[in-house]
Assembly symmetry: C2
Homo-oligomer: 341 residues x 2
DNA sequence: GAGGGCGGTGTAAACCCTTTCATCGCGCCC
DNA sequence: GGGCGCGATGAAAGGGTTTACACCGCCCTC
């Protein structure tokens, strides 16, 4: 009977050479613990048989997977930038990074969370602006896995965090519009109900207005969902509602593009009639016409630093509890002085 | 001495109840093989102790991980769409999908490939338009893991494939421009050196011109890298070089946006002076001003079908060797009749 | 020449789970 | 009342690797 053609294991390699599996394992993992000759023979046999170690077995034994997950609420270019940074750091640290999305769906969050709790990954980078990984936070008796929170602090646990100061970023933006001469400055907020980030940006907006003694336009309702379409709709509503603002600060770039489209659709011009400013510095804003003035949130940098901290956590090294990365105003073509010179 | 506080295992649960680990395992995995009472007790203890099964151990035993990888050459919104489709299909099939990027870096491709070969995942969806997962394809004696190729067939192995007919898509685009009255139709190709997809689109362009007895502009060199910047540069070169075309067919949407920017920068208007058409139907084109006329490649659909096929492969069921998904012209504002009416 | 150190190798346990096979008790049937 | 089937459980093997420990020559030293 023909031997069934399964994948070769370390035992097959050992048998082919008349060695023990321990020696083969050592030849591969700790080259200097075996003779040069043995190592050469092992490598040859490995090549010849097409042997690959079973990572599952290895991880099970070592109790470490060298894999980390990045968990993001949805598919968005912005989160991709964060991922990019994580990936870059991880590579230098010998980790593999894998990406999962929750779609703000509790069940899916649970599942990803369980993957880590169940040893499929060593740690987790939560790129979220919303809620806990489980509907109700777990009982404290159940230890959390190693987690670093990127972008925005979470309120359901005290975790190491790399974030931007979204409140200050928003305030800077509005201050900038003010410095251009604008006094009627509206705001299109994000999903303030679910996103602390959106709330912080709203707060920054209010704080800036207050600092300049201006009236804020608070008739905007719940805000958009950080998507282009909701930005469009919000701007449309804004144009129909009351006195037209001369400038709009929008809670992220994507909604800002939507807002510009709505303004154009209404037969107005940006920045001639209305200045528009976003936050994030996403690609879509950089290449739009007019190119979007925005506040840059260094997504890749946030990802990179998060991974570095997660590495320290996993190694039991001391780490910074909270890192706040700086934001920066990027002036492009969607804003202009008021009144127009 | 205090017992070290490691994660509870199935043994801990069993001991806490005076049951055997077999029963606990069954209570969790095959609920109807145990008494109602036993199951209730087990679930209670699991909850109380915070037990989570170790997926590594489970997979090792079962020889199946229920994880598949999506491997893409780079981070791009287009690949995200494919991923989205894969993810959706996978969810209904009980698989977890994880995403990895190669950056066209042979070493990284190897690493991801090894993850699958090493049992960390059951299969692979290769979203690639470029080369084999290893610098030189492996010896045929070394079996390939289950792979489905999405988007574009590969030439180094005979693998199940879900693809669009890029050649026909390009031909359709040029035919459409022809039907608008354009005769001087230029092409900005993708990286024809490394991407069969770029080559196919170039071929479609040539075929269309030939069918209409037109001269093709072949002075474009190696083409862009499917990025906005290279599209900009290519268009700039095109404008400086010879007689100005009345229409440009660009090998993907991102480069097409770059091309439009270059045209605008040169003081010309789209589509008034030059019509521009892309391929893919990416978001960036949909929301641009002018909105981009393009040929839609149903990325999510490709991803979905790829995953379905991979599932069949993994189950040993029969599957379609090659699926060709239809493309579709989407007319927006970046194209106009010539001469202008 | 006996003891000690040392480099290289083998043996076997451990990692945590699933699953086959055996066991056991119980009710049922003739 | 004995055999049988059946449902629930337990014992143990097995999955592929790493690694602590034991072993075995060998050379060196006194």
């Amino acid at each position: 009977m023909v031997k069934t053609n399964r994948r070769p294991t370390i035992t097959d390699v050992a048998n082919a050479l008349g060695l023990s599996i321990a020696t083969v394992s050592r030849a591969l993992a700790k080259p200097d613990m075996v003779t040069d000759e043995t190592r050469a023979r092992v490598l040859e046999a490995v090549e010849r048989l097409g042997y690959r170690p079973n990572l599952l077995a290895r991880d099970l034994r070592r109790q470490v997977s060298k894999v980390v997950f990045v968990v993001a609420p949805r598919l968005s270019p912005f989160f991709l930038d964060v991922f990019q940074g994580v990936d870059q750091a991880a590579r230098t640290m010998g980790y593999t990074v894998l990406l999962g999305f929750t779609d703000r769906n509790g069940e899916r969050e649970e599942a990803l969370y369980d993957q880590v709790l169940s040893n499929r990954a060593d740690g987790l980078i939560l790129v979220t602006s919303s809620r806990a990984p489980s509907p109700e936070p777990r009982k404290p008796s159940h230890r959390l896995p190693p987690i670093v929170v990127a972008l925005e602090a979470v309120d359901w646990a005290n975790l190491p965090t790399v974030r931007a100061d979204h409140r200050a970023a928003a305030k800077d933006a509005v201050d900038y519009l003010y410095s251009l001469g604008h006094r009627a400055i509206a705001h299109i907020p994000g999903p303030v109900g679910t996103s602390p980030m959106a709330r912080n940006r709203l707060e920054g907006y209010r704080a800036a207005l207050a600092a300049h003694g201006l009236q804020s336009s608070e008739r905007l309702g719940e805000g958009g969902q950080f998507t282009l379409e909701t930005g469009y709709a919000a701007m449309q509503a804004l144009l129909q509602e009351g006195p037209r603002p001369t400038a709009v600060f929008v809670a992220n770039d994507e909604m800002a593009i939507g807002a510009i489209q709505a303004i154009k659709a209404a037969g107005l011009r940006v920045p001639h009639d209305i200045s528009v400013m976003g936050v994030d510095d996403q690609r879509i804003g950089r290449s739009y016409d007019p190119a979007l003035t925005t506040v840059r949130v260094p997504a890749a940098d946030i990802g990179y630093r998060s991974m570095v901290i997660l590495g320290k956590v996993l190694n039991g090294e001391p780490y910074e509890e909270t890192v706040v990365v700086p934001t920066e105003i990027i002036v492009r073509q969607s804003t202009a002085p008021y009144p127009a010179p």
